[in-house]
Assembly symmetry: none
DNA sequence: GCAAGTCTGTACTTTTTATTACAGAATTGC
DNA sequence: GCAATTCTGTAATAAAAAGTACAGACTTGC
């Protein structure tokens, strides 16, 4: 066994047909367990038919499925026998790219560095549907605000993405009060207009939630909740991945804070929209402005 | 799975008959691989007959040998999935939220599961400024397209975010040809309009880059490059974090593929825009449509 | 736009594998 | 040391899974 079967699969990905590639990815996503069951289970997990699985292993050079399984078991055996150099084989193919390593580390550390209970209290705040939630971001981070708004809007009412020209923002400020929550994504280089917006909203009594980097946007001064995330990576750019992860945890939290309401709304919207999963007709939801 | 099967075997060693104990020891000495083959192999390795193996697993409380195997596979899966808490005896920090753990793991595995060289060749493709790059995404993933476009636009010319109403998309399709690259973000539930868009673009000769989940959008059929990412998390929603990480790696790659050009453009744009770092006057860049 | 070729799933056959019945061997208790 | 009981393997059976042939769907090339 010179090298892991996993790598052979990756290398030869080109050679596979479309469905075989599905099989390959299914296997890689649950390697090597998926290959240790029956052909039918494998096929099912990959969403293809049994013969495709057989063709897949045949293309990998195995005379039969059993030979393939034997090989997987052998690999597993040698790996489990030497738990030490497993680290060099299994999880860390990623070791190559320091950028990836750093992104992963950033996400982990972001959550590790979060004040305890901060997430919980925020979820409670955002799950309160009497509140009106406004989301806004900077040049790059506005995409995050948009992403979060798209989800929150589904599980609860009164979600507003503050978008468009700077001038329009002012309109949104009118009538803001203590019932309003403003979620601001702002990482360096902090934009003065965002600061202005935050100040004005705070002045009118709105609750300010700031998602920022560890250097902290000046908005902290007027913020009620602050989530600092790691953004530094070995690249000319900053990484927003940890910010997105934070958003997703919040979204999941709000969704499950009131599962019934969320589910009901999701169902209702699914009815309105004729989305399709694999097949059917549909119309795209209006992109939010 | 309250406790490892291994321990159950040790506990109940007393209850076994002589040959069953042989089976038990054979299993423990090559746990769990020995249990993953056939009954005959197991029997052979233990130096007993097949029925003894069957009686052994029956005594452990399994209705059949397959149930026993399923259990072993499940154990193995949970162990391999969380390479982190394998070192659970060491001081464990982040152990808190399984959602966070999974997100982190997804990012790592996404890169581990990428065909070798795929990222490199993609970076080369995207760094070619004679190409025109179009980005588009689905209901949630459009935010990612937007994020990536915002960055790419800075380091190279000819970047276009396909946004707005579905009808407008058609306009963008006009005149697309072999010089065009279309980056599509599409995770389940795949949207039929995106598929249409991809098909049309491909039909006109455009190069299709698909960023999707491991189940693979139907767009793979017309795609020239496919980046599958892990999106499954213990939440009603899917996680786009790994997709964002992919985007950031691509962005960084393109930026550094031609550092001089990138730097020059960044400087030039900084001149045009009066952004401020901590202090100065500014005007917000026009949000892209 | 059509034909040749490739891919993919359904339905079937063959083989393997799990399971069971039973009889002989071993063990235990007296 | 003998009988009752338990244990164990052989051999037959039933279940399943692997493997195959083929036809329809889809691509690809001209």
């Amino acid at each position: 066994m010179d090298c892991l079967l996993k790598e052979a699969v990756l290398d030869r990905m080109e050679d596979f047909t479309v469905t075989e590639r599905k099989a390959a990815h299914a296997l890689l996503s649950n390697y090597p367990i998926l290959g240790l069951g029956t052909v039918a289970q494998f096929a099912d997990a990959a969403g293809v038919s049994s013969p495709t699985i057989l063709r897949f292993v045949a293309r990998l050079g195995f005379p039969g499925f059993s030979d393939f399984q034997t090989r997987l078991r052998q690999e597993l055996e040698t790996q489990l026998r030497s738990p030490l150099d497993r680290s060099s084989h299994l999880p860390n193919q990623t070791a190559g790219d320091p950028l990836v390593e750093r992104i992963v580390e950033n996400v982990r550390e972001t959550f590790a560095g979060l004040p305890k209970g901060e997430l919980d209290s925020l979820v409670r705040l955002l799950a309160d549907e009497r509140r009106v939630i406004h989301l806004i971001g900077g040049r790059f981070t506005d995409a995050l605000a948009r992403y979060m708004a798209a989800h929150l809007r589904i599980v609860r009412p009164n979600v507003n993405h503050v978008a468009g020209q700077e001038g329009n923002w002012l309109d949104q400020l009118i009538g803001m009060g203590s019932k309003d929550v403003v979620i601001i994504f702002d990482i360096r280089r902090y934009q003065s207009e965002l600061i202005e917006f935050a100040r004005s909203a705070a002045a009118q009594g709105a609750t300010i939630v700031l998602v920022t980097d560890t250097w902290m946007s000046p908005i902290v001064k007027v913020a009620d909740h602050v989530l600092p995330a790691r953004i530094a990576v070995p690249s000319p750019w900053d990484s927003a991945t940890a910010l997105l992860a934070l958003s997703e945890v919040l979204i999941a939290g709000v969704t499950q804070h009131n599962p019934d309401r969320s589910h009901a709304r999701m169902k209702a919207l699914e009815g309105l929209r004729n989305d399709r999963d694999p097949i059917s007709k549909s119309r795209r939801g209006t992109p939010d402005i």
